[in-house]
Symmetry: C2
Subunit: 550 residues, 2 copies
Amino acid sequence: MRISVAQINFHIGNFEKNKGLICDAIDKAKADKADLVIFSELCVPGYPPLDLLDRIDFIEKCSSAVYEIALHCKGITAIVGSPTINENPQGKKLFNSALALSEGRIVFSANKALLPTYDIFDEYRYFEPGKRFSVFEFKGLRLAITICEDLWDEQHFDNEFEKRRLYTISPMDELVKQHPDLVINISASPFSHSRIESKAEIFKTKARKYGIPVIQVNQTGANTELIFDGASMIINSRGEMWRRLPFFEEAFFSFDTSDIFAGNDPVGDIRTGHVELMHKALVTGIRDYFSKTGFTSCILGLSGGIDSALCLALAVEALGNQNVRALLMPSTYSSEHSIKDAVDLANTLEVKYDIVSIEKPFTAFGEILEPLFHGMKSGITEENIQARIRAVILMAVSNKFGSILLNTSNKSEASVGYGTLYGDMAGGLSVLGDVYKTEIYKLARYINREREIIPQNSITKLPSAELKPDQLDTDSLPEYSILDEILYQYIELQKPADKISGNGIERATVDKVIFMINYNEFKRYQAPPVLRISSKSFGDGRRLPLVARY
Amino acid sequence: MRISVAQINFHIGNFEKNKGLICDAIDKAKADKADLVIFSELCVPGYPPLDLLDRIDFIEKCSSAVYEIALHCKGITAIVGSPTINENPQGKKLFNSALALSEGRIVFSANKALLPTYDIFDEYRYFEPGKRFSVFEFKGLRLAITICEDLWDEQHFDNEFEKRRLYTISPMDELVKQHPDLVINISASPFSHSRIESKAEIFKTKARKYGIPVIQVNQTGANTELIFDGASMIINSRGEMWRRLPFFEEAFFSFDTSDIFAGNDPVGDIRTGHVELMHKALVTGIRDYFSKTGFTSCILGLSGGIDSALCLALAVEALGNQNVRALLMPSTYSSEHSIKDAVDLANTLEVKYDIVSIEKPFTAFGEILEPLFHGMKSGITEENIQARIRAVILMAVSNKFGSILLNTSNKSEASVGYGTLYGDMAGGLSVLGDVYKTEIYKLARYINREREIIPQNSITKLPSAELKPDQLDTDSLPEYSILDEILYQYIELQKPADKISGNGIERATVDKVIFMINYNEFKRYQAPPVLRISSKSFGDGRRLPLVARY
């Protein structure tokens, strides 16, 4: 039997486009003489459709598209992912299904049994778990068709408080009773830089455990926060990576099952650096947010610091320099070198920039607020006014020219609330909101791997918000190396305070940082969507009560 | 047997406070000679604790508090709600439990079997469903102890696409096999103005179906968006409301079970008007957001329009006039009557106000942006600049005086994106973001039920944003009576477009409104938390993909 794997970038709710992409790949598979072509999870509506699944009209559109794709499957069978209606009188209204389509019909279906409902996943919100397990007999082979999490029943969580076995059943333990020859797993598995190896290990372990090859087909491309890395896997029965599709790209690959059964010529995994993948993920995230919302151009504020410099470099890669515009908005507290560093970067990247001083509106606000603030000391309020004036200017340009404002805040400052709501926290998309400051440096050096793009001075100087004279980030915060270590252990690993301190980290510092994280939930509540590259990013994957006292 | 019902306002994560409230109520129950005192769902941590449940340190605090409360139960038994650890090697790490405590021990426990995972509820994110059902034998009676949703297996959803039976099991069908004498339901059930009667009917139906009295104990008070109405119910075996505790207040009530078994003296339900309850809900929501975050004072922008007028009146009720401050921020487009209406209202409510013209910063922004916008027409960008200048001023006062900015946008404008991000959409809490414009009028008239508080002119004049000359809301939007009808059917009922049009509503209008709703998801993503009073509010209960094309 010959199988094609189609790793595609789908667009949520864009049925015409998704159908076209699927039918084109079916044609390609036929040209490759494939018997079976496999697509990713929920490819028909695009993943994740979220509460669009609550709409009957949306589900009807899925059904129509599935029917049209089935009609297109002449002389070939396709496995697609789509929601289907649960016809039982009880339970959730939908299943998350893998459908085998051929000659105008659904010839086999499997419903996802393990519904991830943690972090960014809410699948039990919509779907009834599948409870019946049967293999699909096709061209003399018995195929165990599973959907993403169905193979993740033994996953390891970063938060050690989670059980090693999150579910009370194991779909493969059920399916293996029917002696499958091949495991197929259609996925929509987002990227997390800390899980590149452990994700591959999930599938390798299953192949080894059951002695059956595993074909995992993942989607690629980004939908708002979530970035899918593709990197679909074909693993032989010894648990070796037999073929791997590229990261963060559409790809198509056909092979004979006899080759994998024979274990012929395993190519092994793609060796890609950690920082390189973070970089690709962020560029993909920016590119797709724009292409899928229909916007082409962006604007951002360039301070001369490393965060906005990195953000500009990523935006230029994603959108092209002609679609990126920068504003330098100095105040009396801006240093000379900041303006020079920003101008140098804009020139290097050939990006249009303007310098707009914030002095006039700052003076105007000072004058009209004087009667209200009479006799009061200048302080954080006035620092915030500067940040908010910059946001007004950036949003004015955004509105006037139809460009999306990119937010340049990093995860370290977002964590501790070191930013101004409606000021530097503004933007349509937070590019670096899941990147700790220490990782920002790594990415900046990666950007500069061949030539100096980000000025060395932006990388080496001490970080400063430049909202008052001689201000440094470390006036208010611990050193970033310490801060990021505490943040990672508290946010990603969810460790208690007493397990974080030690190894040169003082308990008082830990307590102060935890207090800042919790106190500033209200700011993050109103932050833009954050491109997610870690196992725990701010946004929908992390839900905390604003009024809690904890 | 004598039972006390304790309807209390708990604070999430504030273990000392919650423990104190519970122990005080235990003392009161003992003074009332009760054998059993019943508290609400997850009362120990406060509801909803959200992702704090992922933290082992948080769960350990729950366990300690439960133990201390158990020690306090001398000569009395208390039923409390708390997360407990699932000791099975497989499944979610926690149960949502009802624990009967007595003489320092947990003498009985029941785990919630039906875990609501829809709208604002995410319980399967944290909890393993209980699968064993047994009655608690206590003082000669057999008590069927259930937790909130456990009795909601036959609920009706506003979205007709949902099944009438969302779950594949019915806890009461299991428990009734053990012949219980009494059903106890500990709840954390938020208010929704469209479900006041249907919620009571859920419990009445169960009492009638099984011929057993039902005691439902709900929490009261608000936690961020969610407002709990209390209104605990004691329903006799004929399904009559035997006693009802007050709405939106802490309350305590003791009774002899013999009286309810005998059906003595049913008092019936509390008759409260619909608008009156919406009003109480909003005042509760404001009051608790402030008291639980530790803030006392608020600031808001007063335009002379009905939304900010209503918001001010509600804030004065919730926080006291001395804790409320208003800013009038006229521009050249503000009408004379607007300023007068705003001043009249501030004077009537004895609220401190200032008039701060936005002209100076508006001119300053015009000057610095002139080189960038040279030769371009003035338009929405300049309207947005005005709204954003007002936000800068309000946030400056908020920062300087430690007051929370109240957002005054209504649900109709939030739906269609008729508002400026980082402008009039700013604020720490959206008071009216779940109140349609047509309901705003009802609430305003309710505020004026005894005397004119909100100036009649604010109620009767045509709504305008006053951002350009002679602007009216109806320049961009349908009449609010039409708009709100479409919004309700699309958002709450989730009807398809073709089911909304008709009855005087044109399909083109429906399509335009739906487009505006979907297009503006990105604005609502960054909106403040919204006090929820409907069955579908913006915020965590409604999750839509920003990049969808649908």
